[in-house]
């Protein structure tokens, strides 16, 4: 009896295993791994539950009695006596064995027949499930699957959902990011982009379409694009990429690895096992900007009377990713063309390495320029700027430089530290010097008045009015400066900043008041006003961002009429080549956008207010997908030469994909192109759900 029960239990368990496997495979193909596991467990459990009778010896005895009538219930009776506990147990076993022997029961044959009856259907079902699953999924290797031969494959595509992992280049020291089912993939140029999807890789093909002239997709990845697959098509280069097995959560899957290029590109993945199954990913590289550097000290150009002392240097550098190093560059130039040429040497000061500090995005550079150690002669010019490099190991390093400050050592011929040889001082400089002279003269006059003998009244009046005249002259010159008066060809008034102009206005008012006081023979009241005017002028000069090396070249007027009569050379011009093609970018973009926009309009005109309606209006889902993909391709082409148009098309695509009203995005796109708005009744109605 024990052997019979064990045999029947074994048959039930094996049968349950077959049915469980069959159910699991079918369910997994349709709905995924987790659902498959559950379905398999449920199917196996049902079979086991139906065979629960094998736990009872009485039920097994009845099962045997039903198949061996010769036992005449002897077996059931013996089981009853055993289970009844009447004290005759010892003899019951013997009775049972005798009954089985007398009836010549073939227990092995019974179990074999039971196995055949239950196990064969189970194994057949399992085999059928395996064959069905193999039929509806791509072959394991090397076999091409005919298009349109599958039904379940239509339920679950290998191109969705996909996961994109972006690993920034090592120098950026940024963490990897994962995107689920994106349309656009943005990342630093040189990042590794890993695209993963469900299913097996066979039958999938991936191509990279990038701009000609830029590094290809394998620049930074360990993948193996097929260089021989590259073909030129207009300004784009197409490269075939390898689609490889890549384990996902279920242990299967495919993956494509591509490097983020330096320009916008398309990653196109096709599924050969499904008609018109294609997935487009826009690779939108983010450029690593070079460092921004600001030179804080010295804050302005200057002329030094002697090459002695120290000049403190200070600069601020910042970068979007991380700084690598920074320094001050000093170019020392001396000599002149007449004395054998201008010679220069380049010095580097205050160099600091910043890459050791991870992600240091800002830094202050300091240094000291020791003039005495440079052995500078008169007329030497120092050009100082700060330089910083970032850690960009892909396209860089990016170099950022500050504006240049010029420090010049005065020559012996120069009267003071302000005047520059070869040119008269500017009006503002002349005003300052004259105002200082008036202050000195007024001070001297007041000292004279304080001394004995007293200054004669006529002499006081004459000297004071002369000072008033000088003050008025300076005021007139400054008035001319502020009103945009003659400063040669240099528009001084336009070049003034608001603070400079405010200071000069204050100086002008002080000069006017001082002239009035001097006219009234009141030099003591005029002196503070004159000093105030001088201070204001000095402050305005301090605000001036730059003092040019020289003021202006001599103005030479050519007598054109006379010269025209003296020409002796006869030109022999060559044939003119056709000039550059005029910029018709707006027309070009509009021509490319015409087809997809017309399709969208057609869908709107037919009252498409849902995805299904839009698809049917356009001729099927593939047609709608083609419209979206066309816009995506145009966007990739526009991103580099016309970033605003690329962004506008991105908004348009997002609106369509998200099912939002695309009117505003469409209008913005046309505005960016410069084509103006065009009323389209259909488009105004067209909204994807």
């Amino acid at each position: 009896m024990r052997r019979a029960r064990a045999g029947l239990a074994g048959v039930a368990l094996v049968s349950a295993a077959f049915w469980g496997v069959a159910a699991a495979m079918l369910a997994r193909t349709v709905a995924g791994v987790s659902v498959g596991v559950i379905a398999g467990a449920v199917a196996a459990g049902l079979v086991v539950w139906r065979a629960r009778a094998v736990r009872s010896p009485a039920e097994v005895a009845l099962w045997i009695e039903a198949r061996v009538p010769a036992l005449r219930y002897a077996l059931v009776t013996a089981i009853d006596r055993r289970s009844g506990g009447t004290g005759e147990d010892a003899g019951a076993g013997d009775v049972l064995r005798r009954a089985v022997t007398d009836a010549q029961v073939d227990l092995i044959g019974l179990l074999r027949r039971a196995g055949s009856r239950h196990l064969l259907p189970a194994a057949g079902g399992c085999l059928a499930a395996i064959l069905l699953v193999r039929q509806v999924t791509p072959p394991a290797s090397g076999r091409h699957v005919a298009r349109g031969a599958h039904t379940l494959a239509d339920v679950r595509s290998r191109l969705s959902p996909i996961t994109v992992v972006i690993r920034p280049p090592a120098y950026a020291r940024l963490p990897a990011r994962a995107l689920r089912d994106p349309a656009d993939v943005a990342g630093l140029a040189g990042s590794t982009v890993l695209v993963r999807g469900p299913g097996v890789p066979d039958g999938l093909a991936a191509t990279f379409e990038g701009q000609a002239g830029l590094p290809g997709p394998a620049a930074a990845v360990g993948g193996s694009p097929n260089p021989s697959g590259g073909t030129s098509r207009t300004s784009r280069v197409t490269t075939t990429l390898a689609v490889r097995p890549g384990a996902d959560a279920s242990g299967t899957g495919w993956q494509v690895v591509v490097g983020m290029p330096e320009g916008p590109a398309l990653l196109r993945i096709r599924d050969a096992s499904r008609a018109a199954a294609e997935r487009l990913l826009i690779l939108a590289p983010q450029r690593d900007a070079p460092p921004a550097v600001e030179l804080i000290r010295p804050s302005a150009d200057t002329v030094l009377a002697a090459a002695t002392g120290e000049i403190p240097l200070e600069a601020h550098a910042s970068d979007d990713i991380g700084l690598a190093d920074g320094a001050f560059e000093v170019i020392v130039t001396a000599g002149s063309e007449e004395s054998g040429g201008v010679h220069g040497r380049v010095l580097t000061l205050g160099q600091v390495q910043l890459s050791a500090d991870a992600h240091r995005r800002e830094a202050t550079l300091v240094g000291t320029l020791r003039l005495g150690a440079l052995a500078l002669g008169p007329g030497t010019v120092l050009s100082v700027r700060a330089i910083a490099h970032d850690g960009n190991a892909i396209e860089g390093p990016g170099v950022g430089t500050s504006d240049t400050r010029t420090i010049r050592i005065a020559t012996k011929e120069e009267a003071d530290s302000i005047a520059v040889p070869g040119a008269a001082p500017t009006v503002s400089d002349r005003s300052l010097e004259s105002e200082r002279a008036i202050v000195l003269a007024t001070t001297a006059l007041l000292r004279r008045l304080a001394r004995a003998p007293a200054l004669p009244k006529d002499s006081l009046v004459e000297r004071t009015r002369r000072l008033a005249g000088r003050q008025d002259g300076v005021r007139s010159a400054l008035t001319g400066l502020l009103s945009g008066g003659d400063e040669g060809q240099i528009p001084v008034a336009d070049a003034l900043t608001a603070p400079e102009r405010a200071l000069l206005d204050s100086a002008l008012r002080a000069m006017t008041d001082a002239a009035s006081e001097l006219g009234a023979i009141a030099p003591r009241r005029a002196l503070p006003l004159e000093q105030r005017a001088a201070t204001m002028l000095d402050s305005a000069r301090g605000l001036a961002p730059r003092v040019y090396m020289r003021s202006r070249p001599p103005r030479i007027v050519v007598d054109v009429g006379r010269v025209r009569l003296t020409g002796t050379e006869h030109p022999q011009p060559g044939p003119r080549a056709r000039g550059p093609v005029p910029d018709v970018s707006a027309d070009r973009w509009l021509a490319r956008l015409a087809a997809p926009l017309a399709a969208l309009a057609r869908a709107g005109e037919e009252g498409a207010s849902s995805a299904t309606a839009a698809e049917s209006a356009l001729g099927g889902p593939a047609a709608l997908r083609a419209v979206i993909d066309s816009l995506a391709v145009i966007r990739v082409d526009a991103m580099a030469p016309d970033p605003p148009l690329g962004a506008a098309l991105g908004d348009l695509l997002t609106a369509i994909r998200d099912g939002r009203d695309a009117r505003d995005a469409l209008a913005h796109t046309r505005t960016v192109i410069g084509a103006g708005l065009e009323g389209r009744a259909g488009l105004s109605e067209w909204i994807l759900p």
Binding site: T333, E337, V342, V381, R546, R552, I556, E569, A577
Partner: protein, 203 residues
Amino acid sequence: MSRFVFATGRYASGDWDSAPLVPANLIDSVARYTSIDVAPAGAVVALDTPALFDYPLVYLTGHLPFRLTERERANVRRYLDRGGMLFIDDHNHDVGGIFHRTATEEIGRTAGPLVDLPNDHELYSCFFRFPDGPPATSHELNGWGDNLVHDHLQAVVRERRILVLYSSKDYSSEWGYHAESKRLQSVDNTRFGVNVVVYALTR
């Protein structure tokens, strides 16, 4: 059509006005050989002002480091994008000097990479013909200075148009004399300057 004004660019660093006689000399040549309505006097224009856009061609030269401020750089980029042309000449007759190094770096940052301009470029035939390319200067030929003839000019070219024409040949010295002295020359050495002007105005 407005009158052509020869403009000299003023930049923040260096000695932008190192060749004060060149503008008048080239104005003389343009008037002498062409029918271009040229203004009798040149103009000086700061590179960081909107006035830059009034001039189709701007001449820049100097001996000292050539560097632009951020404001100058941005303004020059817009100027070049909108059809302007710069003619930059190294006033030093040396090789790899300080002006050359700083100017080529600055041009690269502002306009793009410099390339050798082929000697059959239409710049050399748009008015006078120069079948051998850019005419050599006396500094190159007489051994004074670098004793080297620069075979090519360099340029930043966009869609077949020259944006920046860069010369290491020191035309600023070669053309830096009073126009009245031309009568003493057998061949006017400023003829190439006429080609530069004609190219800038017609391409």
